[in-house]
Point group: C2
Chain length 355, copies 2
Amino acid sequence: MAGYVPGEQPARKRLIKLNTNENPYPPSPKVLAATREAVDGRLRLYPDPAATRLRTRLAKLHQCEPENILVGNGSDELLAVCIRACVEPLRSVAATRRGAATVQYFDPSYSLYPVLAETHGARRHAVRLDTDFGLPTPGADSSGSGWEPRAALSLVTTPNAPSGRGYRTSELRRLCKATDGVVVLDEAYADFADENALDLASELRNVVILRTFSKAYSLCFQRIGYAVAHADLIAELAKVRDSYSVNGLGQVAALATLSDRAYYRESIARIRTSRDALASSLEVLGFRVLPSQTNFLFVEPPALSAEDWFKELRERRILVRWFAGQRLRRYLRITIGTDDEVAALLRAAKRILAA
Amino acid sequence: MAGYVPGEQPARKRLIKLNTNENPYPPSPKVLAATREAVDGRLRLYPDPAATRLRTRLAKLHQCEPENILVGNGSDELLAVCIRACVEPLRSVAATRRGAATVQYFDPSYSLYPVLAETHGARRHAVRLDTDFGLPTPGADSSGSGWEPRAALSLVTTPNAPSGRGYRTSELRRLCKATDGVVVLDEAYADFADENALDLASELRNVVILRTFSKAYSLCFQRIGYAVAHADLIAELAKVRDSYSVNGLGQVAALATLSDRAYYRESIARIRTSRDALASSLEVLGFRVLPSQTNFLFVEPPALSAEDWFKELRERRILVRWFAGQRLRRYLRITIGTDDEVAALLRAAKRILAA
């Protein structure tokens, strides 16, 4: 098998990095101070394997119990944990039970999903999103390529990446209710959206909400994600998680983040404002910009192919993401940067168009 | 299934914690300074998924290439990675091929091994170490409970935990050569031993050496372990590893550790000296102390049962580890602490014996 290929992390300095959906703003000064202060003799000790303080604070924030929360080494670990806990390897099940071995996800969505499914020996079932990346209607497709209500695990990026499209909670509820297996709503970008589906974690027993501190909370470096779900489901997931997977300084930083929410509300608002402004400016230049509920834009560029735009921008030291697949090759995915980075991108785009 | 039960991480302060084999000494001042300095705006960025700088430095240290090294989120993650890469789920293989689904390990050894094997749906094969915890001779046992040369993966803690016994490289070489599958030599405690088997990673294509920064390098909190093996094997392991699993501050701290080796040589020497002194003192009190090549002692206490010793010590705010299993219930595992902690342990032991 081939492994997952992460977005480029260039060693070159002074590159404008709009390719991996990182937050352009640093963590709050209070978070940095709290993390620095924790760098002392305690580093010799194992971190709390249950991340108790962090779970308690998250439970308060989300009006649930600590037993409804599992903290992981980024939400990537929790995706793998969900697969291990919910899905049987394909070769171990009878043909009539292949739903028990199925990991279902949308095409396009997070390209790590099929890699994790393959690693587990699961059956991969990619359900094609319609042309504007809207959700399918369960049961509407009888061709065999539609949504399978019996899939042991379904992974739904909401808002969707790479398209940036958001989904209504009512639509997601319908999808989850029509599904027998566990449905993970991967809300990595939910903080940038108008609504989120967190309520479904308490409403439906088969729903896992995944959140991360990487995007809206500027903590990629420290790998903290979490799952919210029914306590029984969380208990099963916890059994197959590596007990010490969540590093201690990450726990400290995440806890401090929850004590400084005003700072993050402001930086999230700033990113949303920049996003909408950049969308308008790119439209003026002839780009087709898809509606975004995330911290990035998915755009169809004018004049040149998306691949050529990717190369031209890279020559001007601006890194965006281009996906080579048949369906996505027309698009570029552009992370919202600082005001200066966005201005530099627009200047470069104008020069490329003029050339 | 039941999950792994980690050693107790008590919330109570002023407890003497000799139960999870942590290093009693903090990381070096230079490591703390380098880590503190790295707590800045970079936290918003993804860490290097390949841990390139750390791998380059480790390669230099071990006189191999960066391609021979894989860094993980503690060596616990790398154990799980080895199982996922090398072992097929039992229900997916024909009866004649059950070796392909077998994870083999010694009893007693690290209690996480069977949990990881069960999570993967692998067949677990526990090979009983002889009464003094020495290695078996491959092929000598025809009862079916001996060493299986066809096991897809064998996990060998060397020096052994919880017994503390070390193994000669020549013995380990013989065992690895007699095995078709991959053999992991889990050298978590090797820095405290008289010899290590690192050379086998370059000598034999089926050997993976696991090392950690948690024990000798006082970085439990930051979760850094690594594997050393043939480049082809490392490449396969890397494919099933979560690409961003190694947090950034952990990479910074580990790198700084490698630049201050004199500090750690000294603290390792100190622990070895304390270990040997504590062993003598406990023997004087009537304890049977097994030879140790690690940072802990495995002892059979006099007068009371080991379980009662565990409880008595706990009442005196001293935490050691006691294992409830049939074979281990006679023993206590005691981590080497600071001089003050060791003195407190001895005082408590004398009082318990006097009572």
